[in-house]
Amino acid sequence: MCADPDTLSSFWWMTCYLTTGKHLGLYWAFGTVLLLLAITAPAALMFGFGGAMAARSNFLPLQWFGKAYMSIVRGVPDIAFFLFFVIALDQAFEWTRHKVLCPDWDQPIRQGNDFVVCDAAKLPLSTAPQYIHEIYGFALAVLTFAIVFGAFAASVLYGGMRAVPRGQIETAEAYGMSHRQSFRRILVPQMWVYALPGLSNLWMVLIKATPLLFLLGVPDIVYWAKELGGTKTPQFTSFPHGDWRMWYFLFLLVFYLAFTKVSEVVLDRLMKRLTHGQATTGGEAQRRAQV
């Protein structure tokens, strides 16, 4: 039926149009974006936690490392990270594999502008099907997002840890808890309430940063909106149309707004639960309301 769209009524034309292989690419990209968020958020939180712990460490080099990670990564523009860091990361992987897998290669790796490694060291192998390449690009994206957002999360968590009242730790110590025990039992459970406002900001920024995926060769929703919305001349498609980018971007706008709204509601609830019983103004207000 969809083979000859010119003869269709507008409803069926639209149905056929919205189910072309190209549109399936768009729908698929929504999944990609959600998956990216689902993996990146916990990964970034882990990086952040590690960074904050390192920055608080008594071991000086580790402390320097944690602080350097926070300040350097936060200072570099995201786009620079995504353009240069990722290519450098990819080349670093390939360089390592090249040294291990092709020890008797006699040509230099850098030849003028070219980066040449042996075929076995290519990542992914050039014989690999395209979906492997996309998964690899996706993994690189997750890693890069986690490093970048991890630095911001580290700084937020570091602040959260410092905000826990000193008296709490002192009491823990008075009970005879070791440094590690008081960290795990007292500090960590209490810091979330101070860190959550900062973390929820980060989550919102992360949601909106996902179009950077395209820089890594993974088609994302903004790429598809641009591609599908652009003017299509009858010679090259069965579904010619004018400049529909506005409609596609309007749809994206609604998607992003709805998504951030849902996040806001969920984070609000989480905040309420975390505040419960805490020695903060929010916790005090909850206590008074209950009395």
Partner: protein, 241 residues
């Protein structure tokens, strides 16, 4: 036993090497009809798709098509994410310093201006062009104001919504757009020949691959198949070899 194992590994390794040689990743933009675009099914299509597939068949290579943003298409080639750029890229001295080109498979082209009305002065107005193209380079050297966009479609949209007075791009890209616009868009000014024709971009170290494709293009020019393809995609007035 150990020997046998070693031989098998060596064989498997050799097999892998041979296979690795055979797959060529073709990088294109997918936004520049008739040269290359994404068709309704979501696949790369167009003149260069057919040409590339034919060249790969003749050279007995299996080709995999990938799309990449125009702006980063050369950096991704030299860092090895794909092996060939086949994206309507004109051969210029500037690009030739970074990558190698095959001989051209489309003769040196004329670029043209398209505007919403006849009375636009293309030497002084605001002209849109795609970033890092020979057209953008040319406009930067004239008295006109250059307005750059990431993809070709946006350069045209800028003229439609009045952001730019005219767009400067390959004549072949503009022709179907003007025809489909129903008089809304018109060619203005003179056509300007730019560049040394369109060729495939290949890493400078990949001379063997370049020679293979070069030989294929020579053969296709000789037996007339390239001319047929040009006619099919660019119409009867398409340039011929």
């Amino acid at each position: 036993m150990k020997n046998l194992l070693l031989t098998t590994t060596a064989l498997a390794f050799a097999g892998c090497m041979a296979m690795a040689q055979d797959v060529v990743r073709m990088g294109t933009e997918g936004a520049y009809p008739p040269y290359n675009f994404i068709n309704d099914a979501g696949e790369v299509d167009g003149f260069e798709r057919e040409l590339g597939d034919e060249l790969c068949k003749r050279a007995e290579l299996s080709c995999e098509w990938v799309t990449n943003e125009w702006d980063s298409i050369i950096p991704n080639l030299v860092s090895g994410n794909y092996d060939v750029i086949i994206a309507g890229m004109s051969i210029t001295d500037e690009r030739d310093q970074v990558i190698d080109f095959t001989q051209n498979y489309y003769p040196p082209t004329a670029s043209a201006f398209v505007a919403a009305s006849d009375d636009v002065d293309v030497t002084t107005g605001t002209i849109s062009a795609q970033v890092s193209t020979i057209q953008a380079g040319y406009i930067a050297g004239t008295g006109a104001t250059l307005l750059e966009f990431a993809n070709p479609d946006e350069t045209i949209a800028a003229v439609r919504n009045g952001e730019a007075d005219a767009v400067f791009a390959d004549y072949d890209y503009l022709l179907p757009v003007v025809e489909a616009s129903g008089g809304e868009l018109v060619f203005v000014g003179e056509r300007i020949p730019l560049g040394g024709g369109v060729g495939m971009g290949i890493r400078e170290t990949d001379t063997a691959l370049r020679d293979k494709f070069d030989a294929g293009i020579t053969a296709m020019k000789a037996d007339g198949t390239l001319n047929e393809l040009l006619k099919k995609w660019f119409g009867d007035q398409a340039p011929q070899y």
